[in-house]
């Protein structure tokens, strides 16, 4: 009897073969690669990775480097502003478009197209528009407002907001589309019921619709946050980190340390810090989404 049973290992053989790339990627690249980087962040690797342990030295150096501190500050400022604004803008646009308007497709298409462009293209366009010699500043001045000053890319104090403008332009369409999908996913009878009950539209949005869209908000949040942490190309193209180090970000710090400064250990430590940042957002989310889902059925 028992010998007739086909071996468990070879059952479903084709499916297992088909999953090999996934298994290799998951184990070797994602788990293995991450573990490797974390391990080597405790070493004195320079031009080449070396297993010479230095404990937390790399992290101490990292947190005493001005450029890294500025990078983290920039990420915080950019991240928080981006998060708040992209949600506010995205939701308001979605709510406006959801009013059964004419030209819906055209408007949606125009708002979303920047998302199809690369960060490099985005950064370069806004570099041009924000150019004080030819761009917005010079135009407003030519209208007669001689003292008008708007040169975010040349003013270290506000340079990161110049990047923010470009980031919002590129990314708010995505949030708008997701929010719109969320709004459309809500049962129309909720609106009818609210209308019969005489609840004003803004109240219906805040107290009924937005709470119902919780899943959409959470997944959008995760998408936006992971996108913010990864921000790199936009900075490289738009400001190159300048003026000075005023628009440096962690991802750029990692790249420069690894591939330009031959200081791998710093790169590993910095990227591990980035991982930590993402984990702080993703793990609670995963817990809420999947851990809690058992209770909700």
């Amino acid at each position: 009897m028992a010998d007739a049973r086909p071996s468990q290992l070879f059952r479903n053989k084709s499916a297992k073969i088909a999953a090999i790339p996934m298994i290799v990627t998951a184990l070797f690249v994602f788990v293995g690669g991450t573990a490797w980087t974390i391990v080597y962040s405790f070493t004195k690797s320079g031009l080449l990775p070396r297993l010479k342990w230095v404990g937390l030295d790399q992290y101490e150096r990292l947190w005493s480097t001005k450029r890294w501190i500025v990078s983290i500050e920039n990420l915080m400022i950019y991240g928080l502003s981006m998060l708040v604004l992209v949600f506010v803008i995205g939701f308001i646009l979605a709510a406006l478009i959801d009013q059964k308007i004419r030209f819906e497709n055209t408007i949606r298409t125009v708002i979303l197209y920047p998302y199809a462009l690369s960060f490099v293209v985005t950064g370069l366009v806004w570099q041009w528009i924000l150019n004080p010699e030819f761009g917005i500043e010079s135009i407003v001045r030519s209208w007669g407002w001689e003292s008008f000053a708007f040169d975010p890319l040349y003013n270290a104090d506000i340079a990161i907001f110049g990047v923010l403008i470009a980031g919002l332009w590129q990314g708010s369409g995505l949030v708008m589309v997701l929010m719109l999908a969320g709004l459309r996913g809500i049962d129309q009878e909720v609106w009818k019921a609210a209308r019969v009950d005489g609840i004003p539209a803004w109240k219906t949005y805040i107290f009924i619709v937005i709470p119902m869209m919780r899943p959409v908000f959470i997944t959008t949040l995760v998408l936006v946050v992971t996108g913010i942490v990864k921000i790199y190309d936009l900075i490289v193209a738009q400001t190159g980190g300048g003026p000075g180090i005023s628009t440096e970000v962690p991802a750029k710090y990692v790249y420069d340390m690894m591939f330009q400064a031959n200081n791998l250990g710093q790169g590993f430590a910095a990227s591990t810090m980035m991982l930590l940042t993402v984990a702080l957002v993703v793990i609670p989310w995963a817990f809420l989404e999947f851990g809690g889902s058992k209770k909700r059925g």
Partner: protein, 301 residues
Amino acid sequence: MVDITSSQLSGPQGPKPRKALSRRNILLYGTLFVVTVYYALPLYVMIVTSLKGMPEIRLGNIFSPPVEVTFEPWVKAWAQACTGLTCDGLSTGFWNSVRITIPSVILSIVIASVNGYALANWKFKGADAFFTILIFGAFIPYQVMLYPIVIMLREIGLYGSLTGLVIVHTIFGMPILTLLFRNYFTSLPEELFKAARVDGAGFWGIYFRIMVPMSLPIFTVAMILQVTGIWNDFLFGVVYTRPESYPMTVSLNNIVNSTQGVKEYNVNMAATIITGLVPLTIYFVSGKLFVRGIAAGAVKG
């Protein structure tokens, strides 16, 4: 019996009167108009700047339409613009991007679709564990895995080659594409799969004869997602290839942000537009499918 015909109608009757220019409508369409103009403006600026000559740029403002239309900046951006050392414009980068994008898109979609199909219909022990790792992997910042992959590619002798970059794109496209395909195949009626098994079709038979012909929309979505994603990539291009095989985004950045020579803004904008042309075309042609593609990342499995 009620006599309907003789009853007199008084008070409100018939359709409710509506003002086309109500305050609400003015506000609504006004806001949307301003927003639309704002979003469209950069594209407009790119186009008009790229069609002006340098003297006109220095004189006028960036929003004014070109007085004298010239295509010279486009020609220059394509064939002559300098990236530090070489001066052969974007054309090299363009063809590099083509040579990177096509195999990457094909390979990543083939692998992810077969894998998603296995996960949806042929579950085996442990499959879900690997899949969970894969999905969480999508959230790991690329920077964490950059160097280990450099080592892996170096070990197999592919570091710096286009093949190596294709593998990298396949790896990082895998989480989202696998999720996309798995969810799609799961949404197909399970009974179809059962019927095909009763009919004696195996793993590949069901995939090619039943699943693929039913899934053309999702393959299109995946293709749009991958073409735009890979075309727009900058980081992997700069890390895993050598200067002679840099993709277009990297060449573009090098052209525009090169510190040598006089800044030719019209050429820069022409180059920027040319680089954005491929994803923009895909976006405007595919319309709804593009939206479906990006929303796929947000729809949980």
